[in-house]
Symmetry: C2
């Protein structure tokens, strides 16, 4: 694949060549020089896929649930992309369940595309790259794209923001339920799922989530449903998928889908501009070296970081704050 | 307090007035105009406190452990600051244990300063503000500053980077241990703590952590110890604190403490410059309005976000990439 011109690569992508898709994703993941051009070319083909984020604490069974959700999509004749950002996901080759999941029919289905993101050592910018990988799968013709993440950090919030519907997966014994819920997960879910619901305490968990949701300040006309599933047997998965589709209808009918996607676009433009501003600033000759010298001054408490920023700024841009 | 001039506020801070300290922290938290000046003035007084980050999954008993660590510091005659970034922490008024912890002697001890960070709704920039609150407590004369966070997102990594020693707290039943450990926690710990170690499975957990640590690529001469604690009774807390002190000695003797702090300074200067670049760009007259119009063009797939960024850039800076 690497011997192809950008034009040839795009041609193959457009006729559904999976290796071309993989190559383009790799370019984007690695920040290759051709990445921007490729994304620009694919841009007119994007915007059709519906994006589902699946998040929750480690051990909640997210990967198995994603697998079963993808199968439900396929059963309804839809094409699916799966993007695993969770480093412990079997889709990432990570966890103990890996072999079982990797033997599932999904891996040989030509209408399913599975991609795991390299998270190790490169957390910065991961949310942006995850969104771009979803964009590519969108352009590749997938109807649904499911993104699996773990936890509730800033990265997960960014990824949740780029999803159309966010599913939060919990289990009956999710540690101290109240603590788990307060840890940010209660803010981002649009559909809640109590997985492993054949275990003791599932109904209590459903009730607790319901109570927390009622207290949730945000009230935009959508009350997040709580669905019980047993991902390993597939129980409840169809209902979960239907609730996601209900949320989709709600977003479309209330015009909120467009609103959300405009917000995502705005964030993306701002991110690109910020990257460029940074690049241009640090490309000024000598600025890196000067900064390094000043780090020592700060360490010795001769100046503060703010004073250093001021000095560097004046050195390269003078006093004109407006004209940069 | 609000009627004071900046100078008066600083004078009171310097003689140990807790209300002045609280006021300055609030200014910094809210991004008040006087924040930068205050931080600059306090800068020469910083750099003496040792910073301990405590992180781990919800329900691991971090808050109780932080409480007992702080008491151990006090027993050794050291002054302590506690900063809770975990929204479920009882220090934040969050969780079920709140009342018990709030009744502890820490809350009436004049040499202990406890501050919780407002995390709700304002996750962006939280890591930066957390560091600045620690800076203020450092200038206020604390010997140790303990920061409690939850999870393993980008924010926690940023906070861990600003800590001198990071303690990762787990429990025997931490979900599927392997999954939990892979979720980033194995990268950031310098001291590991198996809390609630009177429960079944504690020794197995200690062993598993040991195995994972041996596989950890990073080898800089420090092998993270694993300590068993029962925070509710205080068992093992003294040993945990001693391991933290051992890590401190290691950092000081290998000159790595200075290296780390230089890195923190570098990051901070870069963050300040980035903020200013952003500010200056969006202050250009008309740029916000133009961006908003272009969001619609992108939504209709007439242009891509990269093309919009290009257009905005040229509109305000021309084609000179080097001179901004």
């Amino acid at each position: 694949m690497s011997g192809l011109t950008t034009k040839e690569l795009l041609e193959r992508f457009r006729v559904g060549d999976r290796r071309a898709c993989a190559q383009i994703i790799s370019f984007v993941e690695n920040g290759a020089p051709e990445a921007t051009l490729l994304l620009d070319e694919l841009y007119p083909m994007m915007g059709r896929a519906y994006r589902i984020g699946v998040t929750g604490p480690p051990g909640a069974g997210k990967s198995t649930l994603v697998e079963k959700l993808a199968m439900e999509c396929r059963r309804q004749g839809k094409k699916v992309g799966i993007v695993a950002v969770d480093p412990s996901s079997p889709f990432s080759g990570g966890a103990v369940l890996g072999d079982r999941v990797r033997m599932s029919s999904l891996f040989t289905d030509p209408e399913v595309y599975i991609r795991s993101m390299a998270t190790r050592g490169s957390l910065g910018g991961l949310a942006g790259r995850t969104k771009e990988v979803c964009d590519i799968l969108d352009a590749f013709g997938k109807d649904f794209i499911i993104v699996e993440t773990v936890g509730v950090g800033q990265m997960e919030l960014d990824i949740a923001e780029a999803a159309d519907s966010t599913v939060v997966v919990l289990v009956p014994e999710s540690g101290d339920a109240i603590q788990t819920l307060k840890a940010g997960l209660m803010e981002i879910g649009e559909v809640y799922c109590v997985n492993k619901s054949d275990r003791e305490g599932a109904d209590r968990m459903v009730m607790e989530i319901g109570t927390m949701l009622e207290m949730r300040a945000k009230n935009d006309g959508w009350m997040p449903p709580v669905v019980k599933t047993v991902a390993t047997t597939g129980k409840g998965v169809e209902e979960l998928f239907n609730k996601i589709l209900a949320h989709r209808r709600y977003l479309e009918e209330s015009n909120r889908l467009s609103e959300r996607r405009r917000k995502v676009i705005r964030n993306e433009i701002e991110r690109i501009i910020e990257e460029r501003l940074r690049e241009v600033f640090y490309h000024q000759p000598g600025v890196r070296k000067r900064l390094e010298e000043m780090v020592s001054d700060v360490e010795q408490r001769k100046v503060s970081p703010y004073q250093v920023a001021d000095m560097l700024w004046k050195m390269y841009f003078g006093n004109e704050q407006r004209r940069v």
